[in-house]
Symmetry: C2
Subunit: 364 residues, 2 copies
């Protein structure tokens, strides 16, 4: 069953079938194949080879008198060995670069643009996992008064992540209490990782150490924990889910479309799947995925910020997708993000107070 069982001609035929099926979505017959790809052999010969390929599990048959359709195994072989992984045309590269440059100063916008680019250029549903790091450490915790019974909890992590949440209090508070609370919590948790703090017995430490705050703590601590949890949970941005309608096999099969869209609606499940994938470019095809994605393919890649792996982006679509093109686009986009947010070594935080004369630069 390993690819070496396949002679040169079988490979050539398989490749041609996959290429045809990817573009048309129709089962490929021996006669039409021999017409479209001139490989100097008759349809009868192709039929014999096809029959062998079917026995080996690379092709299937919707019904006796239909053409052949590639199996998941065939796509796997195609992706591993046969696929055309040529460079992206300069035009596409240009489009990606200019769109990402638009917002090169802001990671968040860049990420959103990346998702748009990805779905536009592949005509599939794209997703981007926003940068979240489990090990990121807390920097400070702050409470801001809003009105007489509402405060905003703000948590800032060392890596710049900021999360906030409005909390309604059932007991009165004073500004002094809030500031004390901020100080105590910052002091207790600063420099600790989010998961470490979540594992601590917070309520207990409060009621013991700070009697005066224990009333406040009752209201605040559950929200604090929920907010930490939210900081851990990766945030999934999706784009172009209605692209699915442009594919004939979906726009004629309501059930399939419905399953697809329902699957996308369960974001937390999808996030789980994406988070748990391998690093680098990863392609999973059909039944290599879990049950509810067993006739879909998933391609993901990572992007880095300052050399550190922070997020993941990719597409999801039918197994019949243009693997070569899609992979190139994903790779190019992720590399481009990583490059844009590359650490510039000569650009360090200076601790001295004098300004550096840059003021003159835009005086006109």
């Amino acid at each position: 069953m390993n690819p070496n069982d396949l002679n040169e001609r079988k490979l050539q035929i398989l490749q041609a079938i996959i290429a045809d099926f990817i573009t048309t979505g129709e089962p490929v017959g021996s006669r039409s194949l021999s017409k479209s790809h001139d490989m100097g052999i008759s349809p009868a010969t192709i039929r014999n080879e096809m029959s062998d390929l079917e026995d080996m599990g690379y092709l299937t048959h919707p019904h006796t008198s239909a053409g052949r359709v590639p199996s998941d195994k065939a796509y796997r072989l195609y992706v591993d060995e046969l696929m055309d992984t040529s460079e992206l045309p300069e035009e596409d590269k240009q489009k990606i670069r200019s769109k990402l440059l638009e917002s090169r100063n802001e990671l968040d916008s860049t990420i959103e643009h990346a998702a748009e680019l990805l779905s536009d250029m592949t005509n599939l549903t794209s997703f981007v996992l926003m940068p979240r790091k489990d090990e990121s450490k807390l920097k400070y915790i702050n409470f801001l008064p809003v009105d007489s019974n509402t405060v905003v909890l703000m948590i800032v992590a060392e890596d710049g992540q900021v999360m906030n949440r409005a909390i309604r209090l059932s007991v009165p508070y004073t500004e002094e209490n809030l500031q004390l609370m901020s100080k105590v919590m910052t002091h207790n948790y600063r420099g600790k990782s989010i998961s470490a703090v979540m594992a601590m017995d917070i309520i207990d430490s409060f009621t013991n150490d700070m009697q005066s705050l224990s009333g406040l703590a009752q209201d605040v601590v559950p929200s604090f924990l929920k907010t930490l949890e939210k900081m851990l949970n990766a945030d999934l941005v999706m784009n172009g889910y209605s692209n699915i309608f442009s594919l004939p096999e979906f726009s004629t099969d309501m059930q399939k479309t419905q399953n697809f869209l329902k699957m996308l609606e369960d974001k937390s499940k999808l996030t789980d799947v994406i988070v748990n994938r391998d690093k680098g470019v990863m392609i999973t095809i059909g039944d290599e995925n879990s049950e509810d994605m067993k006739d879909l393919s998933l391609i993901t890649a990572d992007y880095r910020v300052n050399g550190e792996l922070v997020g993941r982006l990719g597409v999801i679509g039918p197994t019949r997708m243009k693997y070569g093109k899609v992979t190139s686009v994903i790779k190019y986009i992720s590399d481009n993000i990583s490059q844009t947010f590359e650490l510039k070594e000569n650009n360090d935080v200076k601790d001295d107070s004098n300004d550096d004369g840059s003021a003159d630069e835009q005086d006109s």
Copy 2:
């Protein structure tokens, strides 16, 4: 054309037709109507009345030999005059109350739960507009160092809204510069409304007043403006878009489904529509909406926090929806949110002399 043209019997027949059509989705015929609603007249009489109602624009005819279907005008009459607006059953009320209580200390979670409840209980697509206020005033602006070329901009408004964004700098910065920048911007914009600040000529004031910061300002100001814009833009949360598949008229008509989902995908347009609706409970039916929603109905209501109008929630679905039930659910949920976040008068802030000291909170 006013409803007074309709005698009692016509109203009764119209109401019966609408009720039947809303539950079945099938055109209603005279014979089946006389069977299901015993109103003591024969199908022939009903036919005559139906014919009159059709002439008056309340009913239409998909084709000669089909039953009658209510027009948008009929739904309007139904909603205004005929609809059963009975109280929600205690069971449903209980369900809403307990779900909303789960997160009564946090507005954000409550809002999300409300959207879930709404789509679950109506089997439609629900949306909630997160609280955003155009007139909210800035409280302070803060920059946090992340790494040698990244800082986080954090904007806090008086109403507790916090927005942040990572900014990549092209010039080096010092901690002192950041703190100076925070102080200057906070001093300049504090107490001003977001829209007022956006209207100011920010770059100019920087280059004039603060030569030393102008290099930083080049990078920071565009992001600052974008972030303010984001604070103004209401954030739309949606839920249950795949509920549409449970309706026969959508699950058999791919084109309709596709239009619906594509319409939902353009969030900014939908947000615009929702923002610009009347206060209170508002129902718009079919062609009362804009072109791309002309065979849908939209029901919205507002919710308040501390007596102040802050957000809006609602559902979108086919004109054939259970207006009575849906309206009751929306009303009950919005009232419940408003009640939960009611101002408690006896619960005041004791001291609000100094609330921008938070900029130095970070190095405690």
